[in-house]
Subunit: 400 residues, 2 copies
């Protein structure tokens, strides 16, 4: 056994999260794509069978009240809250991330332009130029509909473009491609100094590292639940609205579920209090209750322990890659500094598309991002150090 | 046995759709709330178990391509198409009805203002004043974001307010409260004569009667799938965009799923061709594939046969109510004329909330709409004439 294999075994032996792996359905595959679709938590099929056969099949319409369907968006939001450092009452689950980016960004512009805000003339939306594309497309639409100009810049350059004309800023907590972690506290403070609200996209960090939404005074945030939160394919996204801003959260999608009295069937809209303002239409109960069950995996888990294991895993994987892969065949795009690293490793590699295809054939599942990136996600709840060593070893074999 | 009970038995005996009831999970309850939440199709739990354990649990990320997850929105749209009189390639499934109303209405205003359209100055959105509230709230938001004024009028009065300033019209095919069916062909023609596009909300008609979207030249339509289509609680809604208008469909929610090359990860948005333009973010696969399975119930079913049975059921129920219920205790709000009737019966009744609670206790499930309406939905795939007679009988007993 090589030294690194022995080291992996030792690290797995003292991993306090190791037992969590048993709560997921996994096989001998090295699954390093949990940053795209989290693995199936073992309790989900049973729970969803009960939802279908008993709650829908037998109680039918009565389940909206008797089985707690109606309050699921805010109840599940409160389950996600501690994972992103939010007190209860600030998160609702529902719709896709893209739709939530739209709600958050239009609402942010309206907050910036609130009559109570002394700075008028705010007509610029600043957006991360390296963002996952959908955020940029939606930001462009939000700008068009609110009479703003879109200013795409690299996250590090954001402070330089902020000013009296800034209406809102949309940033990713981690770059989907390189895994680089952006400075959420510092950038939030910079946006606030310019008198504007900031929207953070947490898709690539929630469930992988501490976010600290309340602590850092984040205004609005969105995220998906199917990556590190393991909610299932296309499971509903979430929206965080800081409590102090909720009275001014003026949604561009004021559906009946965000009404103060949804069953009053009133012609005039009157927004509900609190996080419920972020709801829109009837929630998709099957996907939503699968997500709720999947969150049981977080019971008793400290997000600090998750972060510690995540960094140990990516450090160890990079060491294995350095030891096994012939020099010059891959180049890490993932920052070496822990403070700048999410929970994935991105390797630039010639012929990356073909290399990933061959890795998958050999049971190492990551993904390919055009034009030349191999992306490996490390989900601390179920990825082991042994997985990391094996993935590096098979990558080396594939490249030689 | 009373004459009406014998008649119910005879009608059920010659009902060509009677066998369909076996494809649903039902008990001795008289379930007349399928216009709110359709009953569980018996094949759905097994199909969804397979999706969870095999597609998500074993194939994981590979299922986006290998299990056809990625193309589900348009594939399922094509399954719904024949039920609403649409040729393939014009419907996508996803998001809630409210979100689809937003997409459709903003896109309709943009179509009305298209540079190729000779009539400028279009700044009025006409909306059904008796609409289900969410449509009105969303229309108000669409008006605000596109610089339009909202004109709420009763559907019958729509022709009188149309003109050169009409940017778009949003109408319900059937009134959610009274069950009144509106004149889709006539109103569509009137809106077209004013040079504007029309958006129809089919929530209360799709799956209950022929809609004829293509035949009547409807521009855009939306609908939910959890009522007469039995897709499950909060199952995804759909959006129809007439083929000829698709190149001009300019979505206010241009997510990465509506991009011409979604995995190209390009910073610039370029809309996909066809119905795919109506997609936004990652589709909620569990809810969506439950819907897909539920549509199997429509195999071999003619929507004309459904309509014939629907009218026979509501006629028969009204006759039973007339025969059993003491005069003056209820008043039907549902039009007597078949051409003006959807697939529900609404009865105005003093103390309706309490009456419905007592009906439910006795196994007759309809719903209550404030302030004084008892609402009974008749789903032709699984409601029998015996159910209708029994419901009227128990209603009469409750009221005497």
């Amino acid at each position: 056994m090589s030294d690194l294999r022995a080291e992996a075994e030792a690290l797995d032996g003292k991993d306090e999260l190791a037992a969590k792996r048993e709560e997921f359905v996994l096989d001998e595959t090295v699954y390093l794509d949990g940053n795209s679709l989290g693995a199936l938590p073992a309790n989900v099929p049973g729970r969803l069978a009960e939802v279908m056969t008993h709650e829908w099949g037998e109680l039918r319409i009565r389940s909206w009240s008797e089985s707690g369907w109606w309050t699921a968006p805010e109840r599940i939001g409160d389950r996600i809250a501690p994972l992103v450092g939010a007190a209860p009452g600030q998160i609702v689950v529902g719709d896709s991330t893209s739709v939530n980016v739209f709600k958050a960004l239009v609402a942010a512009v309206r907050i910036a332009r609130d009559p109570g805000n002394p700075s008028g003339g705010r007509d610029e939306i600043v957006v991360d130029a390296t963002t996952f594309p959908t955020d940029g497309y939606i930001a462009e639409s939000a700008a068009r509909l609110t009479g703003c100009r879109l200013i795409p810049v690299a996250p590090g350059d954001v402070p330089g473009v902020l000013g009296d004309r800034t209406a809102a800023v949309l940033l990713n907590h981690a770059d989907y491609r390189t895994g680089r972690l952006h400075d959420l506290p510092g950038l939030t403070a910079a946006v606030h100094a310019a008198g504007a609200p900031v929207v953070w996209d947490l898709c690539h960090t929630a469930g992988a590292l501490p976010v600290g939404l309340d602590e850092h005074g984040v205004d609005l945030a969105v995220g998906c639940t199917y990556k590190y939160l393991n909610g299932g394919p296309g499971s509903p996204a979430y929206l965080y609205v800081r409590e102090a801003l909720q009275p001014r959260f003026d949604s561009p999608l004021p559906g009946w579920n965000s009404h103060a009295e949804p069953f009053g069937m009133r012609a005039e809209f009157e927004a509900a209090d609190g996080a419920l303002r972020g709801r829109v239409g009837t929630p998709d109960i099957l996907s939503m209750l699968a997500l709720e069950a999947s969150l049981d995996a977080w019971d008793g888990v400290s997000i600090d322990a998750v972060r510690a294991k995540s960094l140990a895993l990516t450090d160890f994987f990079l060491r294995c890659v350095g030891a096994y892969v012939p020099t010059g065949r891959v180049e890490s795009l993932t920052p070496a500094a822990h403070a700048e690293r999410g929970s994935q490793v991105a390797l630039r590699c010639e012929g990356a598309g073909d290399v990933m295809r061959r890795l998958i054939e050999q049971g190492v599942v990551g993904d390919f991002r055009a034009p030349d990136v191999l992306r490996f996600g490390f989900t601390p709840l179920y990825v082991s150090f042994g997985d990391a060593e094996r993935a590096a070893r098979i990558l080396a074999r594939t490249l030689s």
